[in-house]
């Protein structure tokens, strides 16, 4: 009779094997010389050789002119726009000259240090939140409460001798961060509820979810922002007012939630029916089954899609340009109305594009890393 290793008991028995497998050497990589590499990757057919040569000439030409424009002939620092006008290259001085209004908008000039503190706290908190070591409730909850308290104090002020700054004066990069965080934090729970609602067996719940999701996905974000700014106040009783920024954040959050809900629905559909049946057999109710069994698996499956929409939410904060909130892009556009410096808009917009690019690209690379972490446990 052969001995059967029970599936549940194999963890300890196989541990040395797994350890050995993990520590074993990687397969040998093929070493090829530079010439062979060129032959294989750039000149492997007549067509490819032609393409390579054409592309190389174009890259070299554009690359050299870009380096000349952006580095060699560029003006790095000056307070006089005439110096830039005479130079042949880029005028990075426009960023040195205008970075305060670009990054911080119309926030009172002498209080900008508060925004820098808030930004540093924010970036540190987000970085910690994204580190697996901190994925514990005992760390994350106090961390975010403390961070929000510090950031709120810094942005609003009004306590500890700081002057009060109305949210209408917030601007620049901190406003982008507030809009982004607000959208994701408010929108994500709504998206889960909508996704569950769309798969509900109760027809009324399902109908409401489907109507909301499909109508929101059918209209541009601009119309929703117009609605939040121009129409929504009409629906409130007399004398009641809701802060414009709050209305905008809720509008963007619902818009975000309706796209995210479709991604999460995809994850929910991928869970085998046996998981639901097993949970019910254990006597779990709907919410406990959803929270303990279904969602952890579903969210893991659709993680790439979720991150894509979170990145989209970051980029979508720039739509507030249309309704006159001063995020980093609006502030830059406003700064570029200055007749002395307006001809250097390319440099200014490249700078803003670089800011967005760094955050979005970092988020997408991070999500690829998380996917690797999550798949690590599945290799055996």
């Amino acid at each position: 009779m052969t001995e059967i290793i029970a599936p549940t008991g194999d963890t300890a028995a196989l541990a040395p094997v797994r350890k050995a497998a993990r520590e074993s050497e990687p397969p040998p990589t093929e070493k090829i010389g530079a010439l062979r590499w060129l032959r294989r990757n750039l000149f492997n057919s007549p067509l490819n050789s032609a393409l390579t040569i054409v592309a190389f000439v174009l890259v070299a030409y554009w690359g050299v002119s870009f380096v000349e424009w952006g580095i060699l002939d560029a003006v790095w620092y000056t307070t006089d726009h005439n110096v830039c006008r005479q130079a042949a290259g880029a005028c990075w001085a426009v960023i040195a000259e205008k970075h305060r209004p670009m990054l911080f908008g119309v926030y009172p000039y002498d209080e900008h240090w508060r925004l820098i503190v808030a930004l540093v706290v924010y970036l540190a908190t987000v970085t910690l939140t994204l580190t697996p070591y901190c994925w514990k409730r005992s760390i994350l909850i106090p961390l975010w409460i403390a961070a929000l308290a510090v950031m709120g104090t810094m942005l609003w002020g009004g306590v500890f001798g700081l002057t009060y700054v109305d949210s209408g004066q917030w601007g620049g990069l901190p406003l982008t961060m507030v809009l982004f965080t607000g959208t994701v934090v408010v929108g994500f729970p709504i998206s889960i509820l909508l996704a569950l609602g769309r798969r509900s067996r109760l027809p009324a719940v399902k109908a409401i979810s489907v109507t909301l999701i499909e109508s929101m996905r059918g209209v541009p974000l601009i119309t929703i922002l117009f609605f939040a700014v121009n129409v929504f106040p009409l629906f409130l009783p007399e004398g009641m007012e809701i802060d414009k920024m709050l209305r905008v954040v809720v509008g963007m959050a619902i818009f975000f939630a309706c796209y995210q809900a479709e991604v999460i629905r995809g994850g929910l559909q991928a869970i085998p029916r046996g998981q639901y049946e097993a949970a019910e057999a254990l006597g779990l109710g709907y919410w406990r089954m959803t929270y303990k069994i279904v969602l952890p698996q579903a969210l893991r499956i659709c993680l790439p899609g979720i991150v894509n929409h979170i990145i989209a939410a970051l980029k979508n904060t720039s739509f507030v340009l249309i309704i006159g909130l001063f995020d980093i892009l609006t502030a830059t556009t406003a700064v570029m109305q200055d007749p002395l410096w307006r001809r250097f808009f390319v440099e200014a917009y490249l700078f803003v594009a670089a800011v967005y690019f760094i955050f979005c690209f970092a988020l997408s690379k991070y999500s690829q890393q998380v996917e690797r972490w999550l798949n690590e446990g599945r290799r055996f």
């Binding site: 592309a55 629906f235 409130l236």
Partner: protein, 407 residues
């Protein structure tokens, strides 16, 4: 669990049955799943209805107090503003309804151009990304990463600013003979209208129909006899040859209206406005990056064995792409591309930022002049919903054509 389709009537009868069962078995009706479901739904529905009534009530009071007119009567009134570019004749004496129609047509116009150009750009870049040529694939991924990680709003504003910063007509860039790029837009020559041109268009349609019929006949013949009939050159001949014959029969009229500088601006030819070009370039470059990613994922989803098998039966690389990879990749590519087309159409509303008179721009002017925000925004939302719905219906139809056909 598979969601079940149930009607209210069915739920109520089930609820009665649950009541009956609970009476018999001594369990409380509160524990019955069906009963709870009905209660939850009644609560939710009444909550939604109450909220809706409350909002309606407030809006009614507010509008009355502020003396804002309600209803869609303003559509027939005189608009009083002019629109920079329009596909149909429009002047400020015409109605708001006509102005909105101009806006809708402009939205569709830029979206149609955008969809075509973004598809061409995206497919090219997507194929380039999977190219075996290292330089080409790196260049394509550089484009994709740089463009999709920057907001579309920035793309549009950037390109609009670039066009505004171009030289004025007197110092226009002149890349090809007759084509001028200036800060007033792109000006290019156009043949002078002639009675023969509509007939050439008709001949083109007849030619396309003929080519399709010829391809079908060739396919049937191949099935029957096993002999291959080349369809590419004869098809091209039919499509291009018929209009050419009509043109020659009409006396081969060819008179170009070539733009020429008169005073401060160009006369002759036709032009694309700077707003149109800025918006088009912005949304095309942005959406193209997303389509490139979709195309790359689609091509990589085809198992490598398929390519090896196709090569083993002796197909040339071009044919491997056309006959083996693309038909399988399209199944993966079509659904997400649909949503990219939809988002391109919706992003064309960014025209309002740079002064392109699209639907949102005209609607916004209407809103500001009449003060009827609720109605103006409802019209915009309804039109976009209809456009989105039409695109999805068409793309779903196309998707059924390319979807996998299993026995």
């Amino acid at each position: 669990m598979q969601p079940e389709r149930r009607t209210y009537a069915f739920a109520v009868t089930e609820c009665m049955a649950a009541l009956e069962a609970s009476r018999k078995s001594d369990t409380s009706i509160l524990n019955s799943l069906a009963f709870r479901g009905v209660v939850y739904q009644v609560l939710l529905a009444s909550g939604v209805i109450l909220l809706g009534w409350y909002l309606y009530h407030n809006a009614h009071l507010n509008l009355e107090r502020q003396g804002i007119a309600t209803g869609f009567d303003f559509i027939g009134e005189r608009a009083g503003f002019s629109i920079g570019e329009s596909l149909i004749p429009f002047d400020s004496a015409q109605s708001y309804g006509r102005a909105l129609l101009v806006g809708i047509l402009n939205t569709l116009y830029v979206a149609a151009f955008g969809v075509v150009l973004a598809t061409i750009l995206g497919v090219t870049m997507g194929i380039a990304r999977v190219s075996s040529n290292w330089l080409i694939s790196k260049l394509a991924s550089g484009y994709v990463e740089a463009c999709r990680n920057v907001p579309v709003v920035l793309h549009v504003i950037f390109w609009a600013s670039v066009i505004r910063a171009l030289p004025p007509p007197r110092e226009a860039l002149n890349p090809f003979d007759g084509v001028f790029i200036t800060n007033r837009g792109v000006i290019y020559p156009l043949p002078v209208e002639n009675a023969i041109y509509p007939w050439m268009g008709l001949a083109l349609l007849v030619g396309i129909a003929g080519a399709v019929l010829f391809a079908r006949w060739a396919g049937r013949r191949r099935e029957l006899t096993g002999r291959n009939v080349s369809t590419f050159w004869p098809g091209l001949g039919i499509i291009l040859g018929l209009p050419l014959l009509v043109w020659l029969a009409g006396g081969a009229p060819l008179e170009w209206s070539v733009p020429a500088l008169r005073g401060f601006n160009f006369q002759g030819g036709t032009s694309l406005t700077p707003e149109f070009v800025g918006l088009l370039v912005g949304i095309t470059v942005y959406t193209g990056a997303f389509i490139a990613e979709i195309v790359r994922a689609g091509i990589q989803s085809v198992p490598h064995g398929q390519v090896e098998a196709a090569r083993a039966v002796g197909l040339r690389p071009g044919l491997v792409m056309r006959l083996v990879i693309l038909p399988q990749a399209l199944r993966v590519i079509v659904p997400p591309t649909t949503s990219q087309y939809l988002s391109l159409t919706k992003n064309s509303s960014l025209g309002v930022l740079i002064g392109y008179p699209d639907l949102v721009n005209v609607g916004n002017t209407t809103l500001n002049q009449t003060g009827q925000a609720l109605e103006a925004i409802s019209i915009m939302m309804a039109v976009y919903l209809m456009i989105s719905l039409s695109i999805s219906i068409f793309m779903n139809f196309y998707n059924r054509l390319v979807a996998i056909r299993e026995r």
